[in-house]
């Protein structure tokens, strides 16, 4: 295999995992925009996505499509409950306290999952076979095409929702100014609930599409969450296009790092990028840097 072809192969596989990071990063951004907090349970949503899909599809033998939607609904419901329960009922609404609550939720979800699903790594069959397609001499797994396709559709649908529907515009309004949104009559609580629900659904999808490639176990949430978080920072925290660009770039860097240096350092690459961005341009690629009034 020529070096050029190898590079092409790495980039393709990087874009595949990068798509999942993008979905996770969007989940982070949605919640951040509505509430200003970092949801550390985001990675657990991804883990739950894989686990529920395995439960519905592999254990309960439900067909692929119903399992897919049941999983999305279940994890979305968990996102909703996280907001409706502990977050909403917290006595103090301080950011740090709310972030601590999400960390607590993350630990609880991980613990419960260990008891429910056991400690063994599990996997899902790919959505449609394992015969690789050959594109310009590089091999692409059909699952990668599913991952791209699903990610692109979700990004487009979400973009349509946020730009064209009144509820979507109201969500952006809450992100722009919570105070002004309240004074306009927008039910801010409901928008926050919606952002948690969406983040749950996005996490579920990310978990389902990546599990056939990477396998899953009860403890993958933390690392996936951190990857998505790094992607969000890289792209500019809170920015939707930033989340997509950050996710894809992170995936590619990681894959190049693994392929050209050593796969042992795959995770280190993500954190090296995170640190570099924090040192050099903390607002990220699409970040504007906060304007201050003098």
């Amino acid at each position: 295999m020529t070096f050029g072809l190898q590079l092409f192969q790495f980039i393709l596989s990087g874009l595949t995992t990068g798509s999942t990071y993008a979905l996770i990063a969007i989940g982070f951004s949605l919640i951040h925009n509505a509430t200003g907090i970092v949801n550390f349970a985001q990675g657990e949503f991804v883990m739950l996505g894989g686990m529920f899909m395995i439960t519905f599809h592999s254990l309960l033998k439900l067909p692929m499509l119903p399992s897919f939607f049941l999983t999305v609904l279940s994890v979305a419901a968990i996102g909703l409950l996280l907001e409706f329960g502990p977050i909403r009922r917290a006595k103090s609404k301080e950011i740090l306290i709310l972030v601590m609550i999400t960390i607590g939720a993350s630990i609880s979800i991980k613990g419960l999952s260990m008891i429910l699903f056991g400690k063994n790594p599990m996997t899902l069959p790919p959505f449609s076979g394992e015969t690789p397609l050959i594109l310009f001499g590089a091999a692409i797994m059909p699952q990668s095409i599913w991952i791209f396709g699903i990610t692109v559709s979700i990004v487009l649908a979400l973009n349509y929702f946020l730009k064209k529907t009144t509820t979507g515009k109201a969500m952006r309004a809450v992100a722009a100014s919570r105070r002004s949104a309240m004074l306009t009559g927008i039910p801010v609580d409901r928008m926050i609930l919606l952002s948690f629900t969406f983040s749950g659904a996005l996490g579920a999808v990310a978990g389902m599409i990546i599990t056939p490639i990477t396998t899953t176990s009860y403890d993958v949430g933390a690392i996936l969450g951190l990857k998505g978080f790094s992607a969000a920072i890289l792209g500019g925290y809170g920015s939707m296009p930033g989340a997509v660009i950050g996710g894809l770039l992170l995936g590619v860097f990681e894959s190049l790092g693994a392929g050209l240096i050593s796969s042992e350092y795959k995770d280190a690459v993500a954190f090296l990028i995170l640190l570099t961005i924090l040192f050099l341009k903390p607002s990220g690629i699409m970040g504007k840097g906060r304007l201050r009034r003098v």
Partner: protein, 243 residues
């Protein structure tokens, strides 16, 4: 229309409003003047449901509004144009206006008609309708904020320092608009640091000092009140305080 009785409000343990009692009748322009930190903005936020009040009652159109969420209060017809964060900067003008009608969710045709009315009132906004609100000048932003509030079909419109930071010509334009809105039947509660102008256009005025209502009366009465002249009309009335 709006009756506040013995309202107390706190920031932590600091009391910022003390037994505030005031009323606004339908069709009036009532202004609220007072030094920085006297509690004017807090009072508006209490009325809007953004800041909790203790004790007393807040009745609007015979409905007690204590403990209501802000969106419920907006639904009753009380709209506030705050001093800061008046509009949604990243959203376009059209989106801002559309969200102004969020609670009523008018259909497309009705929405377009209502926006047309706003554009007739503020023609400059039409030219910029697809721009993000953050790119507007201060005066245009104030107009958009007024337009957005009008989309909510307010019964009581509360304006927090609408003239702050605007050029003098724009200020008089804004006051002119406030008056014409009042002529159309919208009741107005105006908080102003520009006391002279506020006294001139309002039917009645309350003076707030460290969280208390210390004076009230018609604009004309207060314009002639020595205390008001000394405290708020300052330099134009040098003789009064250099006695």
């Amino acid at each position: 229309m709006l009756k506040l009785k013995n309202i107390d409000a706190f920031f932590g343990k600091t009391q910022v409003l003390r037994h505030v009692t005031l009323h606004v009748e339908a069709g009036e322009i009532v202004s609220l003047i007072g030094a920085n930190g006297s509690g004017k903005t807090t009072l508006l936020n209490v009325i809007s449901g953004l800041h909790p009040s203790r004790n007393g009652s807040r009745v609007f159109l015979n409905v007690e509004t204590r403990g209501m969420k802000p969106e419920k209060i907006v639904a009753l017809g009380i709209l506030q144009v705050p001093e800061a964060e008046k509009v949604f900067n990243p959203l376009t003008l059209l989106e801002n206006l559309e969200l102004g009608a969020y609670l009523r969710r008018p259909d497309r045709v009705k929405l377009a008609e209502e926006m047309e009315k706003v554009f007739q009132l503020f023609p400059i906004l039409r030219e910029r309708k697809d721009q993000p609100a953050g790119t507007l000048s201060g005066g245009e932003r104030q107009m958009l904020a007024l337009g957005k509030a009008l989309m909510g079909q307010p019964k009581l419109l509360m304006l927090d320092e609408p003239s702050l930071g605007l050029a003098p010509t724009v200020v008089s334009e804004i006051f002119h608009i406030v008056r014409s809105l009042n002529d159309r039947g919208i009741t107005i509660l105006l908080v102003e640091q520009n006391a002279k102008e506020a006294l001139r256009i309002s039917h009645r005025t309350y003076v707030l000092d460290t969280g208390r209502i210390v004076l009230s009366g018609s604009g004309q009465e207060l314009l002639n009140n020595d205390e008001v002249k000394r405290a708020f009309l300052g330099k134009d009335y040098r003789g009064k305080w250099e006695r």
